[in-house]
């Protein structure tokens, strides 16, 4: 009886020492999960998820505070990628946070702009070029389409224009074509209906 106890305790202690040592040796710093979630998010920084940017939303998901279906710019594909990464069940996008829209870019109407810099401060990626009492303009290549600049503008000079299709960014469509129908011929069909009756 005692030997059994000593054997088990000895074994447990030995394993404990080995594991404790390896825990120190193989220590992993930081939480790379947040970075991995952030890599999936589309970086629009629009705040539609309810968090002030993509990194805070990623942190919230990692902490379990937020659900994975709150990001409309990421679309369905984004939710699926998140569910794959985290191993949680897929759920459709939460309509409370907005619906996915085709990507649009902000355009400032320079005739109306008064140079108040309110949109400059609102843009999360500093995509608006300008200074106080000077013309403001959106750098189209950096605009993420988050629409955060539209509301602060006091003269309503910012409009969102969807990106037009050009031979540059045109994509081939998913092939949709007729599939050969396999049907039963008239006689068999009649016989079957007769049998059913």
């Amino acid at each position: 009886m005692l030997t059994a106890l000593f054997v088990m305790i000895g074994l447990a202690l030995l394993l404990g020492v080995i594991l404790g040592y390896s825990a120190l040796k193989f220590k992993v710093e930081g939480d790379p999960l947040v970075a991995r979630i952030d890599a999936i998010l589309p970086q629009t920084q629009c705040g539609q998820c309810g968090y002030p940017g993509c990194k805070p939303y990623a942190t919230a998901i990692a902490n379990g505070e937020a659900d994975i279906n709150q990001c409309p710019p990421g679309g369905d594909a984004g939710v699926r990628a998140l569910s794959d990464l985290l191993g949680v069940e897929y759920k459709p996008l939460n309509a409370e946070h907005g619906t996915p829209k085709p990507k649009a870019l902000a355009v400032i109407d320079e005739n109306i702009c008064i140079g108040c810099t309110l949109c400059l401060q609102a843009c999360p990626v500093d995509a608006i070029l300008g200074a106080a009492k000077h013309m403001h303009t959106v750098i189209a290549s950096e605009c993420t389409g988050c629409e955060l600049c539209v509301a602060p503008c006091p003269v309503d000079c910012i409009s969102m224009e969807p990106i037009a299709e050009s031979p540059d960014n045109w994509k081939w469509r998913y092939p949709i074509f007729e599939i050969k129908p396999v049907g039963i011929d008239q006689n068999t069909q009649q016989a079957q209906t007769q049998q059913a009756v």
């Binding site: 054997v7 088990m8 074994l11």
Partner: protein
């Protein structure tokens, strides 16, 4: 001598495949085989755990427990296996965080893999010596890896295939596993 070792290897990999013939270790087999990279990672992890586990378990059962403390066998095996799995988890997390994330809960669940406990117990039952136990563990894990990778490859193709709606997902996976099992029955009699 060498011939018997080769026979043990072939026997455990093909004839008495632990997943498809002995029907042990189905949990990670079904759970991890959705993605090929995860399956390969799981195969490596299970090989490591099984082989070292089989060897250590033999040493413990032979020298530490002897014939008196035979009743502590299962308990001590599980403790050792749990320790090895924990160690493996730490190494995987350090060396490949992506794999760690991809395997998720299935990495610590290697502890509860019935094959990982079953092989050492079978070793004791068959009175294998140390080399034979190691080979049995190695062979079992190679068999597990082989079938796991084959199954994962098939499941990936089935994802894209035109499966009837009712069969999609786990249903067709189980049917496929059953068919694979039937196929592996063809190896019976190979090592006679």
């Amino acid at each position: 001598m060498l011939q018997s070792y080769i026979l043990i290897l072939i026997g455990t990999v093909l004839v008495n495949n632990i997943v498809l013939v002995k029907i042990l270790g189905l949990c990670p087999f079904m759970g991890v085989s959705k993605k090929l990279e995860a399956s390969i990672g799981m195969a490596w992890a299970t090989t490591f755990v099984l082989t070292i586990g089989a060897g250590t378990s033999y040493l413990i059962s032979e020298y530490l427990l002897g014939t008196e403390l035979f009743y502590l066998r299962t308990l001590s095996f599980i403790v050792v296996i749990a320790g090895i799995v924990q160690f493996t988890e730490m190494v995987v997390e350090k060396t490949s965080p992506v794999l760690y994330q991809v395997l998720g809960i299935y990495l610590p669940l290697i502890t509860t893999n019935c094959a990982v406990l079953g092989i050492p117990l079978l070793n004791v039952q068959a009175n294998h010596n140390f080399i034979e136990s190691l080979l049995f563990g190695l062979g079992g894990s190679i068999g597990f890896s082989l079938v796991l990778i084959l199954f994962a490859s098939m499941r990936e193709r089935m994802e894209a295939a035109d499966v009837p709606v009712l069969f999609r997902g786990s249903a067709i996976a189980f049917v496929t596993a059953g068919l694979m099992s039937l196929a592996f029955m063809g190896f019976a009699g190979l090592t006679r």
